[in-house]
Amino acid sequence: MKKSLLLFYLRVKSAFLSLPKILAATAAFSIIVTLIGFAGTKLLYSDDGMQPMDVALVLPDGSGMYTRAAFAFINEIDTVKSHCSFREMSETDAFDGLKSGNIDAIIFVPDNFIEHILNGTNTPAEVILPKSGKTSSSPLFRELINAGVGDLAIAQAGIYAVDDVCVRHGLRSEISKAELYLNEKYLSYALNRTVYFEKETVTSTGSLTLVQFYIRTAIVLLLMFSSISCMHLLFREGRCLNASFSRKGISTPVVLLSKTIGVSVMFFALSSVLILFCAIISGFSDRFTLILQQVSSGLGITEFILMFVAIFTTFSVAQTILGISDNISADVVLLFLLTLIMMFLSGALIPSAFLPSVIQKISIFMPTTWILNLWGNILSGTFDAVNVIANIAVCCVCTALQALLVKINS
């Protein structure tokens, strides 16, 4: 026991002695990881996929300046602008555009549209959507528009009917009260979609925000790649030294664990210093605090313990890969490739939701999946015992595999 503890201590010391070299390499890898993260975000969430719909606006002949001004005003509203772009054109051009796919929808504005709104006639505008294309991929979209238009017409008709009744029976003073009451009823029942649909937020990144999702990916990638800079600490001992340890009564799993512990303790200490540094800066800058809040919901003792488990598991996996062959160059290439493949299969580079179901099923066999899940827990401030157990299981499997590789090679 004393020998094993001393070995653990010496490994930690050895790791800290290599700190300047490791820091330099980690900084270099962090640039690579940032580039990967940036490219991934751009690929998935670029503006290309969110271009506003081109909507053709067919105005009746002789439509007044009020109609044009009204649509120009609507076009300038931010929420509308991000989804729709209105373009006035003739009926023929609008249909040609719809057929060729240049136009996503046509709105036929009826005669005296604005006047009818003002006087309560409410002649609805006609919306024409193509059978195929981005606006009609879901029939639900069409249904929602129709339902919305219908509901709005019914609500307005109801309100105006009550207004007429009040005027006829000399209850003008009650009109505003009655309208308020009806508005509330219509808004809460007729127009409120939540009455019909249970609301559940579904995102490709699960319970994590996009920022947390890619921060998590970046951390795991950085740790895996950093193991290249710690190769001298993680690479398995020569046969002679292993035999010497064995003669001294230190078993192979203990020797292997001591290496992982050394590097893990060093990276844990580094991470803790970084977190402390961030905490100090956030005390001086509100803006930085807001940025930190986007990354993590706060770190407590549990999160720090989980962090050590996650770091340890990451280096266990890396050490196993580095122990596959005796050739250092081959091991580095293998580590790099396997890391990217495992991360891809775990849905860390592209969210699993966008991957084929086969890959989604394979992902549970990837050690990186469980490491990523644990980092997800740490960043979101949640705790899932399954992830902790899975990480410990990954460590045990990795140590057993390494011991087997040492035995085979000796």
Binding site: K2, L10, S14, S18, C240, A243, R247, K248
Partner: protein, 245 residues
């Protein structure tokens, strides 16, 4: 009583039979030399004797105790210096020694001040990284680590390979004093200078050990004659190996 009793050790790597029945013995205070052509199985035999490798069959007894029944006997009896230095390169000389001295009765500080470590000149290098040491210094450190627990048997696998004359002489002098204290040494080498400490010599050929009675006396007394005899032995091995079956 023999401190080492090795009987009929056999070892094969896949289909290649390396040791086909190696046997020898040694008494306390004796130095045994093992010679043989490259690849004849000398290192394999020493690895088996040190517990680094498992023999396919055969028996090893250290003072009548079977180390295969209790692996602790290996650490109690054997100090092993393999060809490759078993050191942790990213730690200092002192840290390496700490690990090997941690369950020793000897004091590391005493040894650094006036013991074997001072004799080997390691005291001046105590804070140096092992990776920065010369080959000779690393070999000295390997021997010092192997002797940390004061084992009664020291096994050295070609200790002088690629070392300078001063270093070889230094190691040789220490081995002489180690032997004078009643300890046993087993050494493999191709050089008569290193083998000059040996009381008995064995030739490992075709997987078996044959005692070389004619070499034992001259190797201690007359290195020139020993060189001639050793060359003859190697020539006859080479001739036998080049002969078609």
């Amino acid at each position: 009583m023999n401190i080492i009793e090795v009987t009929d050790i056999k070892k094969s790597y896949r289909r290649k039979k390396v040791l086909t029945g190696a046997s020898f013995h040694a008494t306390p205070g004796e130095c045994i030399g093992i010679v043989g052509a490259n690849g004849c199985g000398k290192s394999t035999l020493l690895n088996i004797l040190s517990g680094s490798l498992k023999a396919d069959s055969g028996q090893i007894l250290y003072s009548g105790k079977n180390p295969l029944k209790s692996h602790r006997i290996f650490s109690e009896y054997i100090g092993f210096v393999p060809q490759e230095n078993p050191l942790m390169n990213h730690l200092s000389v002192y840290d390496n020694l700490r690990l090997w001295y941690c369950d020793s009765k000897r004091s590391l500080e005493d040894d650094l001040n006036s013991g074997i470590l001072a004799h080997f000149g390691l005291s001046a290098y105590r804070d140096y990284d092992v990776a920065t040491l010369s080959g000779g210094m690393k070999k000295r450190l390997s021997i010092a680590c192997a002797l940390a627990k004061e084992p009664p048997i020291l096994i050295l696998d070609e200790p002088g390979a690629s070392l300078d004359i001063v270093c070889k002489e230094d190691i040789k002098n220490y081995l002489a004093s180690y032997q004078a204290q009643g300890n046993t040494t087993i050494i493999t080498s191709h050089e008569t200078g290193e083998l000059s400490l040996c009381d008995r010599m064995y030739l490992l050929q075709n997987g078996v050990l044959t005692e070389l009675y004619e070499l034992a006396k001259p190797i201690r007394q007359d290195s020139a004659i020993a060189d001639i005899l050793l060359n003859r032995i190697y020539s006859s091995i080479a001739a036998a190996e080049s002969r078609p079956d």
